[in-house]
């Protein structure tokens, strides 16, 4: 499914809710809109790749369980920009902030 609004797309399969919440907070603090799309079981690399390619802003986040990664359009499948497994809450916040910063074109935070 694609949305028409310019947002960062989050494709999530059974996400850890706390992780999802922190990632969203990261984007909100940076002031970039996002939409969450819940997906039935999907391969992690596909989640990331499709989220970035479907997003008008060209940035997407894939979440499956406790794994989360930031993907940008033009990057090949499986080559996520930042990828984390079981991140701490502040790492999750940074991942979200970096998705927004990729759109704003300002330097990333250290994950």
């Amino acid at each position: 499914m694609t949305t028409n609004k310019p947002t960062i797309l989050i494709y999530a399969t059974e996400p850890q809710e706390e992780l999802l919440r922190e990632i969203c907070a990261g984007m909100e603090e940076e002031g970039i809109p996002f939409s969450i799309v819940r997906k039935a079981a999907m391969d992690f690399d596909d989640l990331c790749f499709e989220s970035a390619n479907d997003s008008i802003l060209g940035a997407g986040i894939g979440i499956r369980g406790s794994r989360a990664a930031l993907h940008l359009r033009l990057l090949p499948k499986g080559k996520q920009l930042f990828s984390t497994v079981n991140p701490t809450l502040s790492q999750a916040r940074c991942l979200g902030a970096n998705a927004a910063r990729a759109v704003k074109r300002i330097p990333f935070k250290e994950l």
Binding site: A25, E28, E29, L74, L75, L81, I106, P107, F108
Partner: protein
Amino acid sequence: MKLIAGVDIGNSTTEVCIGSFDDDGKVTFLASASKLTTGTKGTLANVPGIKAALEEAMGRLQKPVSSLSLIRINEATPVIGDTAMETITETIITESSMIGHNPSTPAGTGQAVGTILHIARLDQGREELPYILIADSSYSYEKVAELANQYSKRLNLTGIILQADEAVLVWNRLERKIPIVDEVKNISQIPEGKLAAVEVALPGQTVRMLSNPYGIATLLKLNADETKQVTPIAKSLIGKRSAVVIKTPHGNVKENILPAGEIYLEAGKTYVVNIDAGADKIMETLEEAGEVEDIRGQDNTNIGNMLSGIKAGMGEVSGETGGNIRITDILAVDTLAPVPIAGSLAGEACLEKAVGIAAMVKTQQLPMEKIALELKRQLNINVKVAGVEAVMASLGAITTPGTRLPLAILDLGGGSTDAAVIDEDGRVAVTHQAGAGELVTMLIQTELGLTSRLEAEQIKKYPLAKIESLYHMRLESGAIHFFEEAVDPKYFGSVVLLAPGEMIKLTQDIPLEKIAAVRSEAKKKVFLRNAVRALKKVAPENNLRNIPNIVLVGGSAEDFEVPEMLMEEFISFKIVCGRGNIRGTQGPRNAVATGLVLSYIGG
């Protein structure tokens, strides 16, 4: 046929030029080489570097070094440059009464005034007073928003100061929108119960009320005396996106003039000038003094220690004692240095006035003879110390196509800017001026507040670019360059330096335009001023118009923008000025080595 080598030992590189003389005394240039100088210029440690350069040059001719019949090395000018920086003002803010910084995402816009109230003591707030809420990072954004919403029904909350980077998150959850400043690290130092003003600028703008003394006076209801006191605060908040000013009745802010010391110029009589007077005054006095014998600083002051330190350093190199080492020239440059403010709450710095100084020391002579003897012993070839450096450089410079006599050379080095004029009769006038590449590096380091000297050096040398996406960058000139492969994400959105073969990421987040402006301003302050000063000294009748050509030689002549700056300056005097091209092939390097070969006549 004889093979002659010219060897020029410079501060950074050792240059070699090989020429062959036939029986009629006609010279043909065969090869050249350049190696990093080993050790300090003018010491025995130079010998390995000289040998390496000779081997490289002779290797190109496929001949052994032993087939040389003579090696001529330069009589290095016994001058050494050094630089130092003195801050002459200092802002002292006691009882931490201001915050001014650029958090990446403050929230809300506008100004607010109120008494500072900690979030834990909201229940003690009184209904009739306006309050500014402070919250440390132990409170989540949800909790801050919830409490603010709950209490704003009863209390008049006008602004919020946060420790965490959560201004937007809180603001989005507020029912009544108020300005929020975040990322204030030392929030525990903010005094509670004091009156404070908060301002967040409109998008794309900077604070307007708090960077204006009358703005602060309006918000905090100050009288004329108090307004005068807060002027340094207003000054240091210029250009910030968000700011907080706290009224502390016993707090104090003042701009001190530091006692930086006096400089004594010995030129027949003693001229005295205070560092506080600034660069222009110092240079004026220096010009007035004329031929200077020695320059000293007032004892036990910053400038005094700095100047005697330079002399001591030079004494070690030359092995001479104090009396023979004299500072004969200085170049002073006004600059601004960001100095961290003592007791700041968010790591703020204030721009302070400073003077950068390059000094030049003249000694009797560098021990070049010792180097010559050692080289002779190791290679078993005749070695001769021949010719004054500047004369040799002039001789080499004439081989640049399109030049004629009289000719001026400007040798833009690291420590000193040297000029020489050679006229139709072969007479040469020479001068050495303090201040060159190293002073430029120091100015860049100071004005940008960099911690590393190497980084400043790199900024001086390489053009800038901004990485705008993983696949392209925008160059300083505005042009766009695309990458084949995605770049490392660490470069994303950053300003980088385009060094040969690699990109260097800058450690601090400074806009590209500002770096470029500081860099070219520093080069102009040092090289333009010194070029004019040096050429005036050697020009016939001290008039620049009597020089038809200027050839730029030396390391800094290879800079990507300095030659153009000088060209623009001298075009108004109808002077042909440009980067040298020694023997039509060597660029601005190898002038002295070439001159050493050329000056060999017969036996």
